[in-house]
Amino acid sequence: MTLAPFGRRLAPLVENRRIGAYQLLIVDDPDGPRDPQPGQFYMLATEERWGAGEGERPYLPRAFSFARAREGRLWFLLEDIGPGTHRLAQVGEGENLWITGPLGIGFDEPAGRPLLVGGGIGAAPLLCLQDQLGPETKVLLGFRSADHAEAANLFAGEPQIATDDGSVGKHALVTELLREELDLRPPTSGLRPTVYSCGPPPMLEAVRALASERGVAAQLALESGMACGFGACFGCVVPTKDGYVRLCVDGPVLDAADLVPGGVGH
């Protein structure tokens, strides 16, 4: 886990590019640490006019996994789903972002054969994980459609793709790719696989159930509504076998074995 510099800092936008259905934001973060851990996240807001969109929001910063950290630059991949992501998606070059981070606990150092399983925008933290683990790392990605699946091009090698509408890759859910992969190379053969996954709650729930069924270790990067990102508000809790934990300081990556069925977040 990499510590964050204390407080928020300004990071100029270097690039804001559309990648299919998503938006890629690259910011300069010379004062931040060079080695955030995959699965850690940053709280982002714009320096100017953060807020007063539809319904007078956003007001609080928003949480984003970094998708890549290179030469003092941070990559974020985001999906425009509400006032905060909408404003961020529109940030122009020359504008600054307020950033705090890296925050939270990312993926554990991999033991065994890593299997990266992403759904939609959940691909973001898997990109830097693949950067770390090497281009040969197996990546399975599920998307709604071809437009969303363009994000797969950011990955090295040949990620396996499933889409909801069959427009690219297999016409299936990504958990089906995972099931096939586990069937093909069962945990009993060779190096034991460890699943690293991020995606929407139903997908993570399916990954959790599948991993538990097959006796495979799985680390899941969860989401929940966050106000602060550094443990201050106690707002981001998810239920675990040990009770509620704050996802921002005890996660966002949790061991699937610690989760209660159905508890992967709202």
């Binding site: 204390f6 407080g7 928020r8 007078e56 007001y59 550094f230 201050a232 707002g235 509620y244």
Partner: protein
């Protein structure tokens, strides 16, 4: 230096109880947190006698220029706090104020007597005003109930007792006066205003706790009015809070009669907000006449 109930603080900026977990923040930011500690006195999250899980999620809802929370006072309970948290909080470079809430008088007595006996603790805050658990609100809105509670607690410790008032009351100044007469050493306000939001999809209440408390700039004008009217009503030092986001805001609360201010929700936007607000306030103080005189009376 600011004198808060006899405790000397290096400045007037506190955190609002429950809006900063210095232990978690140290995990995130390391010892830089201590070197650049943003508050002049640290107020703990409210603790209760028994451990609490808090309310079911979702616990947060963003509002125009504000936040509703329905946290529900999750905490390790008195024993857990003393064993695990207090030693770590004692490492902070500023005096410690511990916030407590009891579900009945016995609980409160035990909390105040026990916490009051700890050398690490400089002050105590009595949270009579949490909108997210059943008991707090009712007691804190009623002058007589507040007075009875403070009277019973006063002999149990030498430490200053600060009563945190609810804004969900017809006349917070009357409650403050009752607290003063009963022996309180200070009052703090405002806690959050009761609020609610519906899930835009299901139209059911969004928050796991159904209702929550509103904080942030949205409530600042309401808070300033209450701080002003309470400051006029009592001689006690007042800790003013509610939507403070800048040195200008903090200066307004001091001008309205507060001795200290507390920063809550703004810390969520910037973990170092307390330090920025303190610095802005010092810059203003140099330009303007002394704020702490409570000019608007």
């Amino acid at each position: 230096m600011v004198d808060l109930c006899g405790v000397q603080l290096r400045g007037p900026v506190l955190n609002g109880s429950g809006t900063y977990d210095a232990i978690a923040a140290r995990r995130a930011f390391g010892d830089e947190l201590l070197e650049r500690f943003p508050f002049d006195c640290f107020v703990s999250k409210t603790i209760t006698l028994a451990p609490r899980q808090g309310n079911p999620p979702p616990r947060l809802w963003e509002t125009p220029a504000g936040l509703i929370n329905s946290i529900g006072l999750p905490n390790k309970g008195l024993a857990g706090f003393l064993a695990e948290d207090l030693p770590k909080l004692a490492e902070l470079p500023v005096p410690l104020c511990v916030s407590v809430m009891g579900f009945d008088h016995d609980e409160l007595n035990e909390l105040v007597a026990t916490v009051g006996a700890c050398d690490e603790v400089a002050l105590m805050e009595l949270n009579f005003s949490c909108p997210n658990v059943e008991t707090g609100l009712i007691m804190g809105a009623d002058p007589a109930e507040t007075a009875a509670a403070v009277e019973a607690l006063r002999p149990l410790t030498q430490k200053p007792l600060i009563v945190k008032l609810t804004p969900n009351a017809t006349e917070p100044a009357a409650v403050a006066r009752a607290a003063e007469a009963a022996g309180a050493d200070g009052v703090s306000l405002i806690n959050t205003l009761k609020g609610m939001a519906l899930d835009p999809k299901t139209h059911e209440p969004w928050l796991g706790g159904t209702t929550g408390g509103v904080s942030g700039p949205a409530v600042r004008a309401i808070a300033l009015e209450q701080v002003h009217s309470v400051s006029k009503a009592v001689q006690l030092p007042v800790i003013g809070m509610g939507g403070i986001a800048s040195g200008r805001d903090a200066a307004d609360f001091l001008t309205a009669g507060a001795t200290c201010v507390a920063v809550g929700t703004e810390s969520f936007r910037d973990p170092a907000a307390g330090a920025r607000i303190g610095a802005e306030l010092r810059a203003l103080s140099r330009k303007e006449r002394e704020f702490s005189s409570g000019a608007v009376r």
